[in-house]
């Protein structure tokens, strides 16, 4: 408990590492007939290898645009996103995305959905190895027995597990999650959060996740990036989450520090940067 209560003691030793994923003065402007519409304005952020970072903010704050530029779906107007010093220009399997609405192909089984990516990304590997990669990752998310089921036969939580398995099967450097658990019921959401943490620990993967849920962000991440409201959204504050890992939800909830951080985040979102609608 003492460790949990003293953030200074647990602040990660990132200072010694080279940043892995860098947002360098990133801006996104959409030209409109009535003038330029600035979505994101000067985002600077350095994420370390193996770090778990959550981005929170109100809808319309450009979180998804930010994520799209990391994934490579959109190009920044100014600045750039660099992964291991390489500027990101196009989508690629080194930055796998788990979308909110599952995005599994409904006419393919869970196995085929994962296999499609494995086949495309590892064309040189033998059929047996590709098959093993798919099955290993289905097992990782505990879904080996529904490998031959189509998405329509799976629950929301199962679909999202398949998506995570598909993403990780391609050995990405960064796992990008766009409100992955937003559509799930609270119990499934908590289960998947814990599974995600286990997978993150086992794979030593860098995770960038967008969420609406402050509790989720605090439970999962090393740092919470809080965005100001759009247009021209910026990074408002970056909150360090000092809880020791592996984390236990029940223990974290007992920690006064948790409520301190939670209130700080709530204050940021609902007072200092309250949405016009709220």
């Amino acid at each position: 408990m003492q460790v949990l209560n003293s953030p200074t003691q647990t602040s990660p030793s990132y200072a010694t590492q080279e940043p892995f994923l860098i947002f360098d003065n990133l801006s996104k402007v959409y030209p409109t007939p009535t003038g330029d519409f600035v979505v994101l304005d000067g985002i600077d952020l350095a994420i370390n290898e193996g770090e778990f970072v959550c981005v929170i903010g109100h809808s319309g704050c450009g979180k998804s645009t930010l994520l799209d530029m990391v994934a490579g779906f959109r190009q920044p107007t100014n600045g750039e996103v660099r992964l291991q010093t390489q500027a990101i220009q196009a989508p690629g399997p080194d930055r796998m995305v788990v979308f909110q609405n599952y995005s599994l192909l409904p006419w393919l089984t869970a196995y085929e959905n994962i296999y499609l990516g494995v086949k495309s990304v590892f064309p040189g590997k033998s059929e047996a190895i590709k098959k093993r990669i798919v099955m290993e990752h289905l097992e990782m998310v505990g879904l080996a027995d529904v490998a031959n089921k189509k998405p329509s036969a799976l629950s929301g939580g199962m679909k999202q597990r398949v998506c995570i398995a598909r993403a990780l099967a391609l050995r990405p450097k960064v796992l990008i999650l766009d409100e992955p658990f937003g559509a799930l019921d609270p119990i499934t959401r908590e289960e998947l959060q814990e599974e995600l943490l286990t997978i993150w620990r086992d794979h030593q993967i860098t995770v960038l996740m967008i969420t609406h849920d402050i509790d989720e962000a605090l439970f999962l991440s090393d740092r919470v990036v809080m965005m100001t409201n759009g247009p021209a959204a910026k990074i408002g504050e970056i909150m360090l989450v000092p809880f020791a890992r592996p984390r236990e939800r029940a223990r974290m909830m007992e920690d006064p520090k948790f409520y301190e951080l939670r209130n700080e985040a709530l204050d940021f979102l609902y007072h200092r940067h309250a949405h016009a609608d709220d």
Binding site: A71, G72, A90, V97, S103, W107, L116, S120, V121, S152
Partner: protein, 281 residues
């Protein structure tokens, strides 16, 4: 409306027809259309019963066309053939023209749907041409082909192709952005994208186009055959009009309607076989 009055008949019926319930339900479904047809026939009979009616009564229609009804397979040479052969000839033309329209239409639709340049270039043209009535194409195709049969087939082709193109294009353009994003992240090859994403996602739209197309084909063939002559249900109707065999026309119209319905059902049936399970509504 007391309770015993309500319950008793229901219970007794249930006990009597415990095993016949499902077939009874099916029969019940047939009652409204049967009643509607009966009312239609009665109105027809009443309207045409007068001494100076221009059209035959239903009873007279059946009497006069009894030969045609009981023997659809006769063949006395020339255009003097039973209704089966007339319809069969028309169907062959439709099959050829429609198949061509399906192949070309789907290919063009995918091309136009995947390329925004092609879309902006060709969509206005399609939108104009699709409104041209089928028969307006007949003179120009006669001029081009110089023969009746290819002209009729071309009219079918050109009539059926627009809804197929337009629906296929729409299907391609409606592919959910998520699927395209998945394809981009996974860096799928062109053929993989085509067979695993584009085609399965577009199939329901293609079948909508095919269904509209087959309906239009059947509309067009009857009209085109009236003008080109020879064997075929369209010319049969025209020929009957010229020989004042009004009853024959009525029977032929019934045939045309039933065959049109069957063609529509056929496309729906094939669609049911081809459509990915998850794409069915």
């Amino acid at each position: 409306m007391t309770a015993p009055l309500d319950i008793r008949p229901a219970r007794s019926r249930f006990n009597l027809q415990k095993f016949a319930n499902s077939s009874l339900d099916a029969l019940k479904g047939l009652v409204p259309p049967a009643v509607a047809i009966l009312i239609f026939l009665v109105i027809w009979q009443v309207l045409t019963m007068g001494p100076d009616a221009n059209l035959p009564t239903p009873v007279r229609t059946v009497q006069e066309t009894w030969e045609l009804i009981i023997n659809p397979f006769f063949n006395y040479g020339g255009t003097d053939k039973g209704l089966f052969w007339q319809v069969w000839t028309s169907l062959q033309r439709v099959a050829l023209g429609f198949t061509l329209a399906a192949v070309v239409g789907i290919a063009l639709g995918i091309l136009v749907g995947t390329s925004s340049l092609m879309y902006s270039a060709l969509d206005p043209l399609f939108q104009i041409l699709r409104t041209v009535p089928p028969l307006a194409w007949l003179p120009i195709s006669l001029a081009a082909f110089q023969q009746a049969n290819p002209s009729a087939i071309f009219v079918i082709f050109i009539t059926a192709i627009w809804p197929i193109i337009i629906n296929t294009t729409e299907g391609v353009r409606q592919i959910p952005q998520d699927y395209n994003n998945v394809a981009r992240v996974l860096q799928l090859s062109k053929s993989e994208y085509f067979f695993k994403i584009l085609f399965p996602a577009t199939v329901p739209y293609i079948f909508t186009g095919l269904r509209i197309g087959i309906g239009l084909s059947w509309l067009a063939i009857v009209a085109a055959e009236m003008l080109i002559g020879g064997v075929g249900i369209g010319f049969f109707i025209w020929d009957a009009w010229n020989s004042s065999r009004i009853s024959d026309i009525i029977i032929a119209i019934l045939y045309v309607g039933i065959v049109g319905l069957l063609l529509d059902r056929l496309i729906v049936f094939i669609g049911g076989l081809v459509l990915p399970e998850e794409q069915k509504q």
